[in-house]
Symmetry: D2
Subunit: 357 residues, 4 copies
């Protein structure tokens, strides 16, 4: 049983982490922290959580960051980019596990790419070099080495929502050499929760409802993250064009991925390769012939559904990967990482089935 | 052919006025004004209107208020409450027609109610006393006296969106003495466009989609406006409880109104009374037996659909009134008022039929 | 640990029951039955449940009704009205607990009302007389008498979705004599999942999106159910007008209830009366001053949120009750009833917290 | 002034044609026909059109096909594939203009492709050979030769909704030789109205809301239509992969098109080439730098918005084309074709500006 803290608990990712950890059988106590709402009760900011904290006032009141870090064995930070390094350093000193939801620890030793896209520098490059990119299907072994007995920093950079969908959709193709590494197109559609809690024109109901809005095509920060992870998977540089679209829905990402096959492969064989590759994964479901992945079937769950298509027996394969961006694309994945690092059942706290409707 | 100006053209009501007046056969020229975006092209703020202004740069560039007032024969103001009096005074001096979309001229001589709810005082009470509440079905005669030859101020206070639906739904009952004047309940559901252009938590897609949100029950500013108009209609004080709800849709208001019948009346007779009452109205449609009014059937049009129900042959009647809040509930109604005041075809520029889907 | 069966597992209520029971810690085995899809795998009908059944083929394949009844200790029927009596009889012979999701066992001994609205007669009136209406907050004691050792039939008629929201919103007022029993208005807004799985014009996306649709005002079958339950609560006949509306959202019911206070009561006192009344209920949350109940805050949970308002210090109170119609309004409530009847933790399997977004 | 008829007036495309033609200044009289609802009033099937037909009962009642064809000078058919040839033959004998909304006349002399995808044969191949594909920007000259004095059949095959967006998005690139002709990917997102009036599981609100659903990737009937038109535009065979997605919105198509540039071209130059190409088109708007095309800005209008992007100064261009599928993608385009054929103002009846919200 562990004590967990969420720093930045009043953003959407933080609130979702709170919801999940409150229902996690291995969490003894949950400390929530917020700079903007310190001293308030979490349930006054998030009335959906009213009553969830029982009689324990410690669980209900938003404390400050240092108090949270001092007590917790596992610290999650759900803050904008640029705030994680300092927390990571404190956790490392203390020996606690740190899971960062921002981009700060997603680029490992590659400071150049991080700086180019996020405009910040590394103050403690050794922490980045030691950190693990928290995509369980790709890095389960490294994640499992971050237990309480680990030597050195225990830092996980939780993946971006789009990168989770895109790289899970391509992992078998990259790893097994099934696809060409250039000319990949990732056309992704996301719900509005991915844009966070701050009201903006782009997410104003009157303007985004009933509308599909492409944005930042080739210019989104998740593009270089995707390319970096795919290159790691393939062991060679991968060129992918990332085109995000805002869709009128709350949760969900559907990534439709177009990739040239390395050699002629029929659809059934490609699907079988994917299914075998992911056969033992608890949260990846490769769909059967005729089915298409959709966020509808994974909402409010930690599943990633993948469907594989090779139209007209051609050389272009289409892979559709669907996740709930708040779960597998964010907070659910972070809990999965914690479970692996702590040696818990990987599905603890995130085993909920998606509702049909 | 007239020259029109819209002051506050970059809010939703202003932009909708621009759209309507650009397509109005009696409008010779349209001047758009904005304090926040002065000097910009309207189509850079509202790309939906790209190309609508042809080659005339005067039509495309947002000018300042004084330039607009100086040239226009009809001035619409789509500003927050508190700014209309000054414009009304300038228009009155010039003899031009002024149509205000805010609440400033909705209360006539009743400064007390206006002050109580809007926190402002009248500087020029005589302008208010001379103004006409722009509900055409109720005040057509007064509106038609505001033509170019009118003596005195030519000022129209355009009704609120909720009051338009609620008072049209009750006008026959009030006027014909069919209902009791106490205990009326108006349960209204509105789309998000009624809340305007400013992004807020309440209209953030992630929070208002998939959700019905009651708000300000008995405390909404449109409550006293509704009661005042109903009292005018009935010729006696009317007590109505107004309960608004935000619904996950863009446009539309559906007001479900519960009222005690003054005497036992069967549904068919009540419906017939309504149908006769509104028989010559171009924009009010009283539905037949078995049909329910819904905003679906009036979207993007100036119609108000009304259905009348007397469940279980009882003493409580239910009237449903549905409008498009941006059209009949705001900009469409303002154009209707202008048409009447100028002696144009009442349907000019606002005769579009609602789409089925 | 019990063996449960769901008959009619491929409708929405049945599929939601399956989802809940698959995650229920006290359910040893789940048998799913479907007449229309017998022999198929549940996950081929509901791909959201893919992988949920592990390696046990018995859990995955939809069997016929008799096999399900033969094995199960608890039988849920999620069928249209008219099929429950026969199943109830079989369960009674066998001594198993039967929970019916249809209206068949909601009217107890009152065959007349049931027949008037559902067009069917009782073949086994003694089963109806013995059945319990499954509103836990109202009938917890009776429900808890339906354990394995109970003498006589163990039959629960699970409430309708609208009646759950409406009667929970009025229970304290009725029980404590706070309200007049005549002239109650219940204006309810429901999402589309309440209309079930069958595609219809009313629930066709192109027609119901972006639209509020009142229907069957004063003529809905849930009206007499509501009146009957309220009358039981009050111990005297209650007259309520029930006006349902279809809203463009998936899950959720928001019932806005207008009721005359029996005597002048201020808002704080009324709220306190409600809060005290429900203080020990695990699934009812009475909101504080200034907050409004909304389905947003209870989605995908078994909570019923209630807010209490007395506008303008008047004699009309407004109570807003919000539920997730698939959970507290249907399958979640059925599991709650089972938990009570079997002496389990009342929250087992239905303790999930609602997500913020 | 002409007499128009719509056969199949009670489907969505037919009802939209009725709405447009009722507001068309050059239409003297409109005859509506329906096999399924013959003898009923149009406004009883489509209550949004109540009151639109004035006092003329002939306009309100749905007549049979032969009566419509006998009187009309312009006949629109909005029927499923397979019914147009017979009507085309009757119109040709009579010399009237025939505009078909189905796929029957979209393939010209290419019976093989039509048969392969629609499973029907040509009975009158000479009618197909004489027909014109109704994409005004591509075939304006041919369309304008179909006036009343034309010799031979006057038949227009109105394009599919997806093909309109996809081919307008690629026309400049194909015509000017800017792009490679192989490896084109068209990732298209459509609202539900494109799926028509018949309620289905795919368009059931409870299942398609809050969800993006890819379908028929590489297998949709609009794929071969797109390839055929692109090949005509390019004057050489074009290979395009068409991947449609159902999005939770009523109207609109957004096609995101990925194409290899024939030679290195910077974004500004490509945009300028597009802008020049379409400079005199009344309904195509090429957006400026930084803007993305979205259906939001063209809803309820006949515009096609196009934005052009060349990410990272690379060799892959992304073109986004957005239309309202009911207008430019269907009924609006058909009216545009009629206007051209009859020598009317091309914008008559379809000049409405899109609303901002």
């Amino acid at each position: 049983m562990v004590i967990c803290a969420v720093i930045g608990a009043t953003g959407y990712a933080g609130a979702e982490l709170a919801r999940l950890l409150l229902g996690h059988p291995g969490v003894d106590r949950l400390i929530l922290s917020s700079a903007s709402s310190g001293g308030e009760a979490m349930s006054s900011v998030y009335p959906n959580l009213a009553g969830a904290f029982g009689k324990d006032p410690m669980r209900a009141i938003l404390v400050d960051k240092s108090a949270a870090i001092a007590e917790a064995q596992v610290v999650f930070a759900a803050l904008p980019a640029g705030h994680a390094e300092e927390i990571a350093a404190l956790c490392s000193e203390k020996g606690s596990l740190f899971i960062d939801m921002s981009a700060d620890f997603r680029f490992g030793a590659d400071e150049a790419t991080y700086s180019a896209w996020y405009g910040k520098k590394y103050a403690r490059p050794e922490l980045h070099a030691a950190s693990v990119y928290g995509l369980p299907e790709f890095n389960r072994k490294k994640l499992s080495s971050l237990g309480p007995d680990a030597k050195g920093p225990r830092i996980i950079g939780n993946p971006g929502c789009y990168p989770t969908a895109a790289t899970l959709g391509l992992f078998p193709a990259m790893k097994l050499g099934l696809a060409e590494l250039e000319g990949i197109v990732i056309d992704a559609k996301s719900g509005t929760t991915g844009a966070g809690k701050e009201p903006t024109k782009a997410t104003h109901y009157s303007e985004c409802a009933d509308s599909i809005n492409p944005y930042k095509i080739g210019e989104h920060r998740h593009g270089p993250e995707i390319s970096a992870v795919l290159s790691s998977m393939a062991g060679a540089p991968v060129g992918a064009l990332f085109a995000p679209h805002l869709a009128p829905m709350g949760r969900g990402i559907v990534a439709t991925i177009y990739v040239r096959l390395a050699k002629a492969t029929d659809e059934a064989a490609l699907r079988e390769a994917y299914a075998s590759f992911y056969a033992s994964e608890p949260f990846v479901r490769v769909l059967g012939a005729g089915a298409y992945a959709t966020n509808r079937n994974v909402r409010f769950s930690n599943f990633c559904d993948i469907s594989v298509h090779v139209p007209a027996k051609g050389r272009t394969a289409v892979v559709v990967a669907a996740i709930d961006n708040m779960m597998k694309g964010s907070s659910g994945e972070a809990v999965q990482c914690m479970n692996i690092a702590l040696g818990l059942d990987e599905r603890a706290g995130i085993s909920m089935l998606p509702p049909a409707v």
